[in-house]
Symmetry: C2
Subunit: 432 residues, 2 copies
């Protein structure tokens, strides 16, 4: 049986839905990698009573580990360290060495302000350096240290990992937390799991379910693989978790998926299509341009998002109006009049225009009807045409009707455009 | 005292962080509008024991209302209705009228498939029509009905609102849930609150704290306003909640904020800058174009996002490379050589080029260094220049250094560009 954990995210803004919680999902991924089973994620406000209630609840559920985020700052409503210490029955003390380290971090940050109250600053530093007896100190990453607080000897309680709320600080302290003796003791003697991720496009979840049924007949120990499937942005993500003795079953399943869904399987090492496209462009030292209408800039935004994108991203044109398609992408107005702005012919001309006008080695074009208005019987809302083209004229194209509302059509169109571009760069046919 | 509520989001994919939870934040907003205080959001898997544990926990915390999402589908692991009924001590029964309604919904959906197992379909429908005695039925919106399940008379337990997991279905059933007698009884006798939202730009949270301190001296009952502040994308959102008798205190605070932070206060009715810009463009029947570099398409994506954007969004150019700035936006290469691609002069030329090339009434341009590379001592990572320009040459411009990493610089740059455009359309000076 694997170790079980709970996550407690504190923060009034997160609870109120004003800020999305980035820490819960990130920690869920990390716990999963360690083979620790996540039982609950709880989000509560900054009130000590609510945080303490969550800790009691998770302890009563028998989890081995609780990870908290938030409430470690210098202000009066940052009370997590105190709540956690009391929960474990540990007194708090002022760690003077930690106090000096925090003071050294704070000092240069405060230099650019004038007229600050020195006594208030010292009180804040002292507060952040006051920690439960017997806790491991992590960092600090910002000014707040993280903590690993084990139960007092003889008490059956979870070990608490106390991390700051800002995602960057939380993420940078995590490896230190995992390396502590207390963390390892809490999850000791539990199973280790292998994790694999397959990504497919153009396939419903039920097909994978059918493949698993087929596999049962001839793959030994297939039942020992824990398989989850998840549809996202039109892609199907298949997660597989198993204990090392089931390695051969995983390999058998991978062979079967390749055999039955080869053209749909685009990633068997966890890489996303964005990462694959970036790697292909870097390897071939090619530049790429974008010509888009219905995605309105989101495709260019996605291609230019990764650090270092300027090495391969030449630029893009968002040609919403027909005149823009003509003036900026040299699309023949007669072509638009004949086939309509949303047509495979115009998508192809847009891609050719982007290659020419932006002097790129390749271009990808999207034109479609995102809705809610603008649909016709022949070309309904969601009808989208894609073309990806190399400077020498080689092209991969695709058109289809994408279900869903405006934001979904735009989002799934950017994903499909990435796949059409990937196919072009690999010399493969368009995704089905 | 206001009614208190908890939210339980069920779903293994959400717990594992593979799908972001959209229901918790949405429900948090709705509860807040109703003046119901949210104590906890919990995310757990599909295991009945985990869902039941969350219900027990929230009941022990004394909440009046629990809203659940997910676990209402036709498959074997959709067990919320059963868990909820047992928790409230209510037997379940097959609601035959509901069974007929679900069957009528399912039938046309199944017509396009062949070889389906009729007995399995009927079993699924029966499962979804089996509900706790005394529950109100909501919908169904998809094929799954929602439920409002009050406690059995004489039991001090929360009323449970049971909603399906798909966000669109959940959202469409919510008004029906709120209108039920059981819902109203659960939150009856509790306070009603007014909610106001102020939005400011270019101001730290501490300034609002100082304004509240100043207000205490002369605004009667100011302490009865519940004020929360939240920094997001470089904007400061100030939420104010109060019971109706404190109306005059709210008005006094609003006057004080206008007096002290007039130039920074851009919205006092909850409208976002995106909504304001869209409304200004629609009212003036003007079109707008975008010329962007470091934001890489995200600004165009944001302007073109709302339904109906094609009425005012002419298009955009993502000019990452210098050659693209020259060829697509007619920026003089000598200007780039003299001042650098990231300069107020080039931002202004990009805006002028976008107006001309896209035949728009206005344009907004951004050029900057998003990082992580590309910074210099004079122009560090985060240095960004903005210009918004009308066809007649009137212009609003701004340049500054935005702190943070690549994604944050890009994100905050799109927000600031919206504000520079807003200022242009209103004939106001650039935001500070």
């Amino acid at each position: 049986m694997s170790a079980r954990a709970g996550i407690v995210v504190t923060g009034t803004e997160v609870l109120a839905g004003r800020v999305p919680d980035r820490n819960g999902p990130w920690l869920a991924d990390r716990l999963s990698e360690l083979g620790i089973e996540l039982a609950h994620i709880a989000i509560c406000g900054d009130r000590p009573a609510d945080v303490a209630a969550q800790l009691r609840f998770l302890a009563s559920e028998g989890v081995d580990l609780v990870v908290t985020s938030g409430g470690l700052g210098p202000t009066a409503d940052d009370l997590t360290a105190e709540v956690v210490g009391r929960f474990q029955g540990r007194d708090s003390f002022l760690d003077e060495e930690l106090e000096r380290r925090i003071a050294a971090i704070v000092e240069p940050l405060l230099k650019r302000w004038r007229g600050l109250d020195q006594a208030a600053i010292e009180a804040s530093t002292r507060k952040q350096a006051t920690i439960p007896v017997g806790a491991d100190v992590l960092g600090p990453a910002g000014t707040a240290p993280g903590l690993v607080v084990p139960p007092v000897d003889g008490h059956r309680r979870p070990t608490l990992v106390v991390l700051p709320g800002p995602p960057r600080e939380l993420q940078s302290l995590w490896p230190e937390a995992v390396a502590t003796e207390a963390f390892r003791a809490a999850v000791a003697g539990r199973s280790r799991y292998e994790h694999r991720t397959l990504r497919l496009i153009g396939i419903p979840e039920s097909e994978i379910a059918e493949t698993l049924r087929v596999g049962e007949a001839h793959i030994d120990r297939l039942g020992e693989l824990e398989v989850t499937t998840c549809l996202r942005r039109g892609e199907l993500e298949v997660g597989v978790r198993y204990e090392p003795p089931a390695q051969a079953a995983w390999e058998g399943l991978l062979d079967l998926v390749r055999e039955r869904h080869g053209p749909q399987l685009f990633s068997d090492d966890g890489a996303t299509v964005d990462e694959q496209v970036a790697a292909l462009l870097r390897e071939s030292q090619a530049t790429v341009a974008v010509a888009e209408s219905c995605t309105g800039g989101e495709l260019a935004g996605r291609l230019s998002g990764p650090a270092g994108a300027s090495a391969y991203f030449a630029g893009g044109v968002v040609a919403y109006a027909d005149e823009a398609k003509a003036s900026l992408l040299a699309v023949d107005p007669a072509l638009i009049a004949r086939h309509g702005a949303v047509s495979p012919q115009v998508a192809s001309a847009m891609a050719a225009g982007a290659v020419g006008r932006l002097g790129a080695d390749a271009a990808v074009a999207v034109t479609g009807i995102a809705g809610p208005g603008g649909g016709t019987e022949e070309k309904p809302v969601g009808y989208v045409c894609f073309a990806a083209r190399l400077a020498d004229g080689r092209e991969v194209a695709r058109d289809l009707v994408i279900p869903g509302e405006r934001a979904e059509v735009r989002d799934r169109s950017t994903t499909l455009a990435m796949h059409v571009l990937r196919a072009l760069l690999l010399g493969e046919p368009a995704p089905t």
